[in-house]
Symmetry: C3
Subunit: 308 residues, 3 copies
């Protein structure tokens, strides 16, 4: 089994069949992480480079654990220690890395489109681990795996995504993926945080959060980027929390067996109340576990699938 | 063989029998690091996360080498690249890490008590690699291993600990451990560096260094935290060195076969003269070797002992 | 097979026979990195410490990949997280590291001579990965491997090295190595960038770049250290580029089958035009691939050669 493409650049590019293949493969890989010996030799002798030009603990750690549980040689490169600080272009660095013959390069970069650029220039597989405010496909895949596990299906699911949609690569990737898989998506957030023309993607748009989450099967809360607060996209954190924070009362509007998701890290008491984040509807920690499984699946399908 | 507790939080919590078990296991693991092939498959498929919110090369490296020599998958997370800088709480980060199913999380953190907090919330084993000025149990265990090797016993040993006792997690952990194992402990340091009520732990207290080290079997010098110097706990480094620095002359006061210890990194010529640090009585480098052995023992007893 | 010395400190110290042994061994290791399973068990249970007190992505990554493809346990230590920032001396840190029983320590350090100091004090093998403006022997070895592959020989080759010779450890190491292997070396650069008495090493010196590269078999361009620009070693980047930049027109002066080398990272459009860097004469990416092979060879010859 192989993906139809060399790279995982975004949910926009990924086909319906490829998404199903990843989710099914991930499901079968989940079991490995529950064994006493959490390791298989599948990718022995393969080289995985985690190239993080933008910092991220959880995503990097998830990829590193995924690689090591598959026995791949796993190399971390972070921007602060990178020669990028010497002014080298991303292209030059990537060509240099490729000359060391990695099988897969996982790239996180603040510039949208950078993984696509590398994918064209290199023969190694590129996995986009987040490119600016553009896409974060492995997050969407782990989110969809979590929904499918809990709900048994993606088709026909009603998913509400709440928060700063326009700056969220998580939202964008989920929108592409969910629409492709037949779910319906309702977006909620202040008008200043809603991208233009997003309705063309087949989603509904709501300024009123209550509207979006009514009867939802899934509520996905987005992280407020505290560091962007000076842009004044909303009057105050308190105001934001009042209008778009998820609390126990708002959950009652949703489907009785709604699941609550958040890509993390959470801002306790801002976009989500602590008792909700770890309450009975929350699947936030499942998302993290599924992150390792989805990444194992992708590494396997890109670097090892052809030989198994 | 297993420890009686899931975690290694401090010498205060560790039982006499557990201490003996760790020291005996460490003794048998020392040999592995002297083989041409310094690796055993004992922890293959186990995941160890070194989560260092406070920087430390030697402790992190020691744990990383210990993990790799036991074939564990070893992941490093440091604070500077951590999502903690995004304002996430330690608890949220820890729950996220646990969802990736590590077997052991080694935590260094500037806040006293943080490993205890995680130990309660997580099912993974937590090893305290230093929490603020509170405890540093693996350092005390390697110190005790070194004493036991050199002296054949801990019971009845006369140990002097000299320096900034009140800010030293190394001192605190050694006091708890040594008293528990039947050694007698004499503390020396300026009154400004002596914690209140410390005599209740069963130690003797001395402003005069000569008094404390008289006939000592072991002299343990503590590192002066140069970065805390502006607190004016003593008039000057020169003054400190004059009153509490260990030099060849002072060593003559101790037992003829005294051993000199220091947790490192040393301030040459401040708390210890260079010729003493690497002189015939010094066991400073043995401490480092024993650090790897003690950490291998702990990893084995926490993650692998039940299956062997 | 073993090297005649415990350490790899510089090309000045390396014998003609040792250079041949490294190049031949590297040639045989190249094939491993082209296999589907890029890994051999040769150094299983050996410990390699990459101790980088000066940042470097490409050299560190190259050593890390080399170590992992040989199955060595590979530990990275970088200066920013190192206890060196606590004021410990390099010697104390190195002795501490040695007490953890590594087989090889790879050192990059801004102080010339630091690897030589460690080599005297430690029994582990030291590999110099760049010491100040002094030497960078693994770079010279990978350069020589690349020349030998392309030209079939080193003896009698005409090599031009162009740029800031006096600050370049790459230049220095190549000069020592190439002269030893019977190549002839022509240096070109502004007078302010030419070390004194360098002609005593048996090289020719040219202010005029055209003179140096005439009929050259190899042109090695050095990186201009943009960060040193305020030293005013030349009037402007544009002026430098005009006099010493390599472009298509200048290449015509060289031998018809000249190869173009650069240690990277390149300053596009300063010392080398982009179309030259990735043009038909360029072997820059071969240098990177050969870097992994040369480092695998060195690790093997230092830590594993005696047992094979």
């Amino acid at each position: 089994m192989k993906l139809s493409q060399k790279d995982v650049l975004g949910m926009k590019e990924m086909t319906h069949d490829d998404i199903n293949l990843v989710l099914d493969t991930a499901e079968s890989f989940k079991e490995i992480s529950t064994r006493p010996i959490k390791k298989v030799p599948t990718l022995r002798g393969k080289t995985l480079i985690n190239f993080f030009v933008e910092a991220s603990t959880r995503t990097r750690t998830s990829f590193e654990i995924a690689g090591k549980r598959l026995s791949a040689d796993t190399i971390n490169i972070s921007a602060t220690t990178s020669s990028l600080i010497k002014g080298e272009t991303l292209i030059d660095t990537a060509k240099t890395l490729e000359s060391m013959r990695p099988d897969i390069i996982v790239l996180r970069h603040s510039a949208a489109g950078s993984p696509h650029l590398l994918a064209k220039l290199l023969s190694a597989s590129i996995i986009n681990a987040g490119d600016g405010a553009h896409e974060h496909p492995t997050q969407a895949l782990l989110d969809m795996l979590t929904m499918k596990e809990r709900k048994g299906r993606l088709e026909g699911l009603k998913v509400a995504i709440v928060g700063d949609i326009s700056h969220s690569r998580v939202a964008r990737s989920n929108i592409y993926g969910l629409i492709k898989m037949g779910a319906s998506v309702a977006l909620a957030g202040p008008a200043t945080m809603m991208p233009r023309y997003v309705e063309r993607l087949g989603v509904s748009i709501h300024i009123n959060m209550e509207e979006a989450i009514a009867d939802a099967d899934v509520i996905m809360m987005l992280r407020i980027q505290m560091e962007r607060q000076d842009e004044s996209l909303f009057p105050s954190l308190r105001e934001y929390s009042h209008c778009y924070g998820l609390n126990g009362k708002r959950i009652e509007l949703a489907s009785k067996d709604v699941i609550i998701m958040h890509p993390g890290p959470i801002n306790r008491g801002v976009e989500i109340a602590p008792e909700v984040a770890y309450g009975p509807y929350s699947v936030i920690l499942d998302q993290v576990s599924n992150g390792v499984a989805v990444r194992m699946a992708l590494l396997y399908l890109l670097a090892g699938g052809g030989e198994a």
